[in-house]
């Protein structure tokens, strides 16, 4: 998910001071000092020196207490330092300064989610889409919350808006796919999972879900291929390992009950190859293997 502001930073020599003065400065008092501190803070932030970045932005807001950008950056920096209460206060400050600053509302929503405060988070994301009806982030989080509440119709409505506002986000396509999948709209789910993978081919959760769509529609070999693709990306992906183990065990049991003991043993062995502690496969190989 694209969240602006996490990788901020600038190199002084590239800065066009005039533009920055226009955007960053809410007062003319000590503008040069404030901007210098902001450039410095952003530069430290980019280089990962969080302490120095915080120090620069804290000085900047002392000189210009209404500087929204500096407060937002402080919010992000405190968050990165796990000081979430302080981060929350910075975003609240911005929201008080300017009721149109959607960036601050977005982070207030996210930090509410972090605290488990669903209704407050929902309210913040709703504010964002009221201020900015094109906010991909606002719709994304609202749709995601509806997904969590297993309300696929509302999730689809919001996540489609998020996708239409910004189609370049793999997470948006994935969560929209999940909503379609939950509503049994398989063609749409498949389309969105595929779009997820076009943007991010290593998105293993999408590969795993496509596997289940294939499996549940009878394309069992294609399903297995999907989970194997996941394991090529991450050999320890627990979902892919356990999905494969489950379907190999299912194949084995089907073969066994139709009299195909040899085939059954082959599948149980496949289970053990990827999931060596699988109790079912271990037991049945022990019981029916080796000509017993």
């Amino acid at each position: 998910m694209r969240i602006r502001g996490q990788g901020s930073g600038i190199r002084g020599e590239y800065i066009f001071l005039a533009i920055m003065l226009f955007f960053c400065c809410s007062t003319v008092v000590a503008a040069a000092d404030v901007n210098e501190l902001i450039f410095q803070g952003a530069d430290y932030h980019y280089k990962g020196n969080l302490e120095k970045a915080v120090s620069s932005f804290e000085q900047a807001v002392k000189l210009d207490p209404e500087n929204e950008y500096a407060h937002n950056q402080l919010g992000i920096l405190y968050g990165k330092k796990d000081e979430f209460d302080k981060a929350f206060r910075e975003f609240l400050t911005v929201a008080d300064i300017d009721r149109q600053n959607t960036f601050a509302f977005l982070w207030l929503g996210i930090l509410n989610l972090r605290k488990g405060e669903m209704n407050q988070a929902f309210e913040m994301f709703n504010k964002i889409i009221q201020i900015d009806p094109n906010s991909a982030d606002g719709y994304y989080f609202l749709g995601t919350i509806y997904n969590f509440r297993r309300n696929p119709v509302m999730a689809i409505e919001y996540l489609k808006k998020a996708r239409n506002a910004d189609s370049g986000e793999a997470d948006t396509h994935f969560r929209l796919a999940k909503a379609f999948h939950n509503a049994d709209m398989i063609a749409n789910a498949l389309l969105e999972y595929n779009k997820t993978l076009e943007i991010k081919p290593s998105y293993t959760k999408a590969l795993n879900e496509i596997g289940w769509i294939y499996y549940n529609t009878g394309k069992k070999e294609a399903a297995i291929d999907q989970w194997k693709k996941t394991l090529k990306i991450n050999s320890k992906d627990s979902d892919a390992v356990l999905n494969l183990a489950k379907v190999y065990n299912d194949f084995a049991w089907d073969a066994f009950t139709s009299g195909g003991r040899k085939d059954a043993l082959k599948y149980w062995q496949k289970t053990l190859n990827i999931n060596p502690d699988n109790k079912a496969a271990k037991y049945y190989i022990e019981k029916y293997g080796s000509g017993k």
């Binding site: 066009f16 937002n72 959607t102 119709v153 063609a187 627990s238 079912a280």
Partner: protein, 370 residues
């Protein structure tokens, strides 16, 4: 050499020969570079429309020039064309992730709403056409329900134990695996008859399924609720009654903790979360939020089911308990574990043998879902 460093050195007089600018080792198309330079000059003169024209031509000739895209972003900003500016800055950052100036301009510009860029229409693929048709058809059947109440439309029913694992065995020989399977099948049939909730079974016969595969089934069918049916047992024949478990970070009792610890020891594939320093992982926040939401919803379901058991079953209610059960934790939806009686208690065992009593259990669970 970094392009901006090159420009900086140029401005400092380090390069004086125009011929050097055309040097092929710098890897630029001559005209793209010239146009970008011209664009930069026009920006300084505040002639933004002409700058945009020159820079658009520059990026057409050299679409990999992050420098030209960065300038194009600045030129658009000069005309307050924020959406176009952000698009150009984003392209600059895509081409050169260390272009911190463009990144910062995106952040500053997008702190507040910006208008949307018009999209180019593309012809539809076959899958897209199918998806549109499917959506039209499905949305006729589905209707939007606002509000944040949890909706259950499909359930995975797990009959505990099976195959070589009989579960607990009563004094008269009643096996837990047989009772749980019968209850699961009956519940599945009941829900199919009612037609409001789709249900799926983890097993349909007497065979063993590992714990991990049970929640895999729930994930396979995108279930909204996972119900694992068990019958309790104790070395002491006295304890009797029903109880319901759900997953939580902390166990509600020492006994629940012991049970959970025993189950958890068999699984190895849990990926521990590795926190990246200096980074706020939004997807991790969402994951934890969803997990806690599911656990809290599980608690609500557990209470509702236990309340039904208390009202409808001739069994003592032993209440709701929670612990960090791995079998429940792996579920990506609310998940509960029902213990409908003690097979080790002779009275409970006798009741569990009766089809009418089993129907009462199924009725209580089905009503709990309503």
């Amino acid at each position: 050499m970094d392009r901006r460093l090159f420009i900086k050195l140029l401005s400092q007089g380090a390069f004086v020969s125009y011929g050097l600018l055309k040097c092929p080792v710098l890897g630029w198309s001559e005209s793209a570079f010239d146009l970008a330079l011209e664009g930069q000059d026009l920006i300084q003169k505040k002639d933004f429309p002409k700058a945009i024209k020159a820079l658009q031509e520059a990026v057409r000739i050299d679409p990999k020039s992050d420098w030209a895209f960065g300038l194009l972003g600045r030129a658009h900003l000069g005309l307050d064309q924020k959406a176009e500016a952000v698009a150009a800055f984003r392209q600059a950052v895509r081409l050169n992730p260390s272009d911190t100036y463009s990144r910062m301009m995106i952040e500053i510009t997008t702190q507040k709403p910006i208008p949307r860029l018009a999209k180019k229409e593309k012809p539809l693929t076959d899958l897209e056409k199918e998806a549109i048709h499917e959506e039209e058809e499905m949305l006729k059947k589905l209707h939007a329900e606002k509000g944040l109440d949890y909706k259950v439309k499909r359930v995975v029913i797990d009959a505990g134990h099976g195959g070589f694992d009989p579960g607990a065995v009563g004094q008269k020989g009643l096996k837990e695996k047989e009772v749980t399977l019968d209850l699961a099948l009956k519940l599945h049939e009941r829900l199919a008859r009612e037609g409001k909730i789709k249900s799926f079974l983890t097993r349909t016969g007497d065979y063993y399924i590992p714990l991990s595969a049970r929640t895999v089934t729930a994930n396979q069918f995108q279930a909204d609720l996972f119900i694992s049916i068990h019958i309790n047992a104790n070395k002491n024949r006295q304890p009797s009654g029903s109880e319901t478990y759900f997953c939580s970070e902390k166990a509600s009792s020492a006994e629940a903790e012991k049970v959970a610890a025993l189950e958890n020891s068999v699984l190895k594939y849990d990926e521990s979360y590795k926190k990246k320093q200096g980074y706020i992982d939004i997807e991790e926040i969402l994951f934890k939020f969803e997990q806690n939401l599911n656990w809290s919803e599980s608690g609500e379901f557990a209470k509702a089911f236990q309340e039904r058991f208390k009202k409808r079953l001739p069994l003592k209610s032993r209440g709701v308990h929670s612990a960090n059960f791995y079998v429940l934790r792996r579920a990506k939806m609310p998940a509960i574990l029902l213990e409908t009686g003690f097979i080790s208690n002779p009275d409970d065992e006798a009741m569990l043998e009766q089809p009418a009593f089993r129907e009462k259990i199924v009725d209580a669970v089905a009503r709990g879902l309503a």
